[in-house]
């Protein structure tokens, strides 16, 4: 059982800056995120895309923003729990008992949900026949590429993941690459490399096709793909890989007794507290009159939620407002003063 002053759900920009604010005012915190890396949507959806509306940062990419936030946390010791999803949040006296998908438990007076639009899950194939092969012959990510050696692999998608894997696996496998249109959104160099391999016969390319069905008894034998003009082709396949990007699911958050408005959580604008005492929501996932889904709004919301946490984590102390420019307390915490 981990005891902490505050548990943050979500390691995106808002979660990271909220951690900074908590540590700065002298509270402990730990962060849980379903992704295997820090950065949330910034790193998963737009690592290379420039952002122009972070105050005092004229231009930075999602990855740069994440790296800067991580380096801002350097003075502090913060425990990250990645590839872990929070499953359950239950009241236990004045604390919340939090359980994750990896069986970790936390006891904390404060839970801050900085979950964006929920947790990322892979977008799956639609045809019903596909589900029975999931995690056997059909995957949405590659864990051990050696299982594909010498086999026929059908890869779906037009982004970097689909093309990178098509190129990589074409060394040792027979590859079918299937995409719903002629244009690819992967990096140009990757598209060029793929086209070369198509020319040399290493990759069979099928564009304007989508998955129609999967056949096989226990193991996958073949798939049907359907052209825009409804023509159907059958492709022998030992394995199928689908790379349609990630979708965001609210997931278990919906079951914690919070006031929800569509996929967002209602909060007040003083503490960013939900209808449950000690549970806060900040960043894209929170909702209040006038809410803007901007990163800068998340920073503000996190700073205020952190101050609210102080009251529940240190009930006998009084929070005193201080500036990092002048407070020796804060400078000590930042490692700038002995």
């Amino acid at each position: 059982m981990n005891k902490t002053d505050a548990l943050i759900i979500g390691a995106g920009p808002t979660g990271l800056f909220t951690a900074h604010q908590l540590k700065l005012i002298g509270l402990d915190c730990e962060i849980v995120d379903n992704l295997d890396k820090i950065g949330g949507q910034c790193i998963e959806l737009y690592p290379d895309k420039p952002i122009y509306d972070i105050p005092a940062v004229p231009e930075c990419t999602g990855e740069e923003l994440t790296n800067n936030l991580i380096s801002q946390l350097k003075p502090f010791d913060i425990k990250f729990h990645l590839s872990e999803r929070v499953e359950e949040v239950k009241k236990e006296n004045t604390n919340w008992l939090v359980k994750t998908s990896n069986g970790n438990t936390f006891l904390t007076p404060n839970v801050i949900i900085a979950g964006g639009v929920g947790s990322f899950e892979p977008r799956k194939f639609v045809p019903k026949g596909c589900e029975q092969f999931e995690n056997k012959s059909l995957f949405y990510s590659v864990k051990d590429k050696s299982i594909f050696n010498g086999k026929t692999v059908s890869i779906f998608g037009g982004g970097d993941s689909a093309l990178d894997w098509a190129i990589e696996l074409s060394k040792n496998c027979k590859i079918n690459l299937i995409h719903r249109r002629d244009e690819f959104r992967a990096a140009q160099a990757t598209v060029d490399k793929m086209q070369e391999l198509v020319k040399s016969g290493k990759i069979n390319l099928f564009t304007k096709y989508q998955m129609a069905n999967a056949h096989g008894d226990q193991t996958l034998e073949s798939i049907d793909i359907k052209h825009d003009n409804n023509e159907i082709k059958n492709l022998k396949s030992d394995y199928v890989l689908g790379f349609f990007g990630l979708i965001m699911q609210l997931g278990p958050i919906a079951d914690w007794g919070l006031n929800l408005n569509k996929k967002t959580i209602e909060v007040d604008t003083e503490k960013f507290e939900t209808n449950q005492k000690g549970i806060y929501a900040v960043g894209d996932i929170c909702n209040y009159p006038g809410k803007l889904k901007l990163i800068l709004s998340g920073f503000h919301e996190g700073a205020l939620a952190a101050r609210a946490c102080f009251k529940l984590a240190r009930p006998s102390e009084k929070y005193r407002f201080e500036f990092t420019t002048t407070s020796s307390n804060l400078l000590k915490r930042l490692g700038k003063k002995e």
């Binding site: 737009y46 959104r185 979708i247 965001m248 699911q249």
Partner: protein, 122 residues
């Protein structure tokens, strides 16, 4: 007096609406007057039409306001931004006539537009 007259004169222009028909997966038709300048996504969300999630709030950063635009209309409404097709790759069952409804801006030109909402968004 002039101002009052001016108000009467201009108000109808400012509030010009276009009729947009949303057809849900179960074939229920909703015909709504949507203010010019809003997006087809906003028209749906503000009128509680089921089936359009718009998780990202209209920023073309997700694919949960996906609609099918009737063929004759599809060619009349150009895609304004390059990234829309990339985003549509990640939509639920994208087709040739798929659009993100947050990228269709309501104007007199699209008065009478019909869009079909897919069975789900995510």
């Amino acid at each position: 007096m002039f101002y009052i007259l001016a108000l009467f004169f201009f108000t109808p222009i400012l509030l010009t609406m276009a009729k947009i028909t949303y057809i849900t997966h179960d074939n229920t038709k909703y015909t709504i007057e949507v203010k010019n300048g809003l997006t087809v996504m906003e028209g749906a969300v503000q009128n509680n039409i089921p089936g359009i999630d718009a998780d990202c709030g209209g920023g073309m950063a997700c694919a949960t306001c996906h609609v099918y635009v009737k063929e004759d209309w599809f060619n009349k409404i150009p895609k304004e931004q390059d990234g829309e097709d990339d985003m549509l790759d990640m939509a639920f069952e994208p087709k040739k006539n798929s659009r993100l409804s947050c990228q269709i801006i309501v104007s007199d030109e699209i008065d009478g537009l019909e869009v079909k909402i897919p069975p789900k968004q995510s």
